[in-house]
């Protein structure tokens, strides 16, 4: 863990959002999940988004990952206005520039690790030989070289999340978005996953991590606190006195 405090010099701005809002209309009621969020994230950053349940973390994450579009506000990804992209362009950005890691892993249950990791490569139009080669390589990188022909139900939770991380990495994305990646894991396995994430950071990946757990957020180099759809605090590093335990 001696590397924990080493901060790699930040690169150019990847994500630039300004005054983003998101409202969900539920019949009569309007849920304001985000109420004006501005944020800049640079390449090589390792950012944790913290906040209590329902504070809008996932909503923000989906926005950043081009899965969702804001009700208002501006979003530039790698200098391009996301609002102007059509569906196919958004899919292409998700495919090549963004790697998603989900709390529930979201692996295809009947496909092997290899086939799961191949999926983004198929959507990228990579030929089958290179696909298998690349997927197997990335699986080996996350420590699953001997599990490539296993299906998710033949793997432990930690191993499943490793497959998911390999899948997020396989197209060499600009950023990795992980929404509560340890939420479904015991603390020991969670810690192992966080070590892997740390490793990715050290190898030049940009990481955005959503969590409501202090221990997990403590791995990041920058922390953004959300509350009721607003940024409450945005600071460098992890300050134990500030980052109080939050109610679930």
């Amino acid at each position: 863990m001696e590397t924990r405090n080493s901060i790699r010099p930040p690169g150019p701005v990847v994500i630039d959002i300004e005054n983003i809002t998101k409202e969900y209309v539920m019949g009569e009621e309007v849920v304001r999940a985000l109420r004006g969020v501005s944020l800049q994230i640079r390449r090589n950053e390792y950012l944790a988004i913290m906040g209590p349940s329902g504070s809008g973390k996932s909503t923000l994450m989906n926005m950043l990952g081009c899965l969702d579009t804001p009700t208002s506000g501006r979003y530039e990804f790698n200098g391009k206005n996301v609002a102007e992209m059509d569906d196919d362009e958004l899919a292409a950005v998700r495919n090549r520039e963004i790697g998603f890691v989900f709390q529930t892993f979201n692996l295809l249950p009947r496909s092997t690790s290899l086939r799961n990791v191949e999926l983004p490569l198929i959507y990228a139009g990579i030929n089958p030989d290179r696909r298998v080669e690349r997927a197997a390589q990335v699986l080996a990188d996350v420590g699953l070289g001997d599990r490539i022909h296993h299906k998710p139900n033949e793997l432990s939770g930690g191993q499943r999340q490793r497959v998911a991380i390999a899948r997020a990495l396989v197209n060499g994305p600009s950023i990795i978005l992980a929404d509560e990646p340890t939420g479904n894991l015991d603390s020991k396995t969670g810690e192992e996953i966080m070590e892997l994430v740390e490793n990715l950071y050290q190898h030049g990946n940009t990481i955005i991590l959503v969590t409501h757990e202090r221990d997990i957020a403590a791995h990041a180099r920058r922390t953004v606190h959300l509350r009721d759809g607003l940024i409450e605090m945005d600071h460098v590093g992890f300050i134990p006195e500030l980052d109080l335990p939050v109610a679930r």
């Binding site: 989906n62 969702d68 899919a91 998700r94 979201n106 496909s111 959507y123």
Partner: protein, 416 residues
């Protein structure tokens, strides 16, 4: 383009995996399509068979033969105008033949008289009723496609002499001589003995239309000697060049008017027909049978398609989260659309294959059990069935696949 192919390959794999993991469900759903395809294919073979049998029956008439008759071969509203026409006499044939011989460059070859009557025919203890007894000349073989499987047709000598000889149809021979060679045996018709000199090659019957198989032919002389004069007669005339049938018809009309001695101001008091006239009367009937049959069996395929549509909707619902995940990983709308279309199509195609196999076996069985049943399996039918299966798959998969492709990624990911 390359990406499309990869996505296509991926979709097929998913479809296969999906079917394997939901085996019972897939089988039951495919059953609808299987039954539909069996029904449609069997109906197709029947329509095919009817069409072929029809053409075969038409071929009996010959496409290069004109028929001089009292009544036209088409439904008429003013039947009273035809009722009082003079009968066609068999002697006309001789007159016509003399005229043809005297006409340079005639487009007609030969005129052949035929008279017919329904009679029963006996040999030993065996009897066949309602046999179509035909009296004609030896020239008859020139005008018809008739062939002998054993023996021969009667010759000119027998024809002129009115010898007591007969050529019998295949079915007649079969019924009268189950275990004997019919040639040179004597059969009893109308109390007279006739020597069998030939048996026709099997032609096959078709929906009660005329077939040589249940016919007996004898020299006209013999026919006239033993059967009452109240027989139906006509004269058939072979045409030299069937591409100039209309000219031949005009020529024959002219000859017949001379035979009948009609002054120019009088209308024809006879009809000249050809195969085509018969065809155009029966074709619409044949087509309505085909359309009605295919429509009704098509309904069962439609029910099968609805089943597939239903199951594809279920599949989309069940895999909402998977769809969300795929979208998060970069699947485009058309990727998802394609995936579910291929799933429904694969299911239909599989159903189609199985249905076709069953239909083939059934056709085979029916053909063995009831040889006369008009049924005909063809490669074209296989291709059409496959295309119909694919179209059914696309049709039934479209709505669910479209729904899936339009799913909002976030909503899909949040779906539990």
């Amino acid at each position: 383009m390359k990406r499309f192919l990869y996505e296509l390959g991926e979709s097929w794999k998913i479809a296969a995996a999906q079917m394997r993991s939901n085996l019972t469900r897939s089988t039951l759903t495919a059953l609808g399509v299987i039954i539909g395809i069996i029904a449609v294919t069997l109906m197709g073979t029947a329509v095919n068979g009817i069409s072929i049998g029809f053409d075969k029956s038409m071929a009996v008439l010959g496409d290069d033969v004109l028929y001089v008759t009292q009544w036209p071969w088409k439904p008429v509203d003013d039947w009273w105008n035809y009722r009082d026409r003079k009968k066609i006499k068999t002697e006309y044939a001789e007159t016509l033949n003399r005229m043809i011989a005297a006409t340079p460059n005639s487009n007609l070859v030969v005129a052949v008289p035929t008279s017919n009557f329904m009679r029963s025919i006996k040999y030993g203890g065996n009897q066949v009723n309602n046999v179509f007894v035909l009296g004609t000349t030896s020239d008859f073989i020139i005008t018809s496609t008739i062939d002998c499987t054993a023996g021969r047709f009667f010759n000119e000598l027998e024809s002129r002499g009115g010898a007591n000889v007969v050529v019998i149809g295949y079915d007649v021979a079969d019924a009268l001589f189950p275990s004997e060679n019919p040639i040179d045996k004597s059969v009893l018709i109308n109390g007279q003995l006739f020597k069998v000199i030939g048996v026709n090659t099997r032609q096959g019957t078709f929906l009660g239309l005329f077939s040589w198989d249940s016919m007996v032919a004898m020299p006209l002389g013999a026919f006239n000697k033993y059967f009452s004069a109240k027989t139906e007669s006509d004269v058939r005339v072979k045409v030299k060049d069937k591409t100039r049938l209309a000219d031949a018809k005009d020529e024959l009309t002219g000859l017949m008017r001379r035979v009948r001695g009609l002054p120019p101001e009088k209308k024809d008091d006879f009809s000249i027909n050809e195969q085509q006239a018969f065809k155009s009367t029966l074709d619409p009937m044949k087509n309505s049978i085909a359309i009605a049959g295919l429509f009704i069996t098509g309904l069962s395929l439609f029910v099968g398609a609805i089943g597939i549509m239903n199951i594809t909707f279920v599949s989309v619902k069940e895999r909402t989260k998977e769809i969300g995940t795929r979208k998060a990983l970069g699947a485009r709308r058309r990727t998802i659309l394609l995936q579910f279309l291929i799933e429904s199509t694969a299911l239909c195609l599989l159903g189609g294959f199985v249905g076709l196999a069953f239909a083939y076996l059934m056709c085979f069985g029916i053909g063995k059990a009831v040889p006369s049943f008009p049924i005909h399996f063809s490669l074209g039918l296989v291709l059409i069935s496959m295309i119909v299966s694919i179209l059914t798959g696309l049709f039934s998969g479209f709505a669910p696949a479209w729904t899936a492709s339009r799913l909002d990624p976030v909503t899909a990911l949040r779906y539990e």
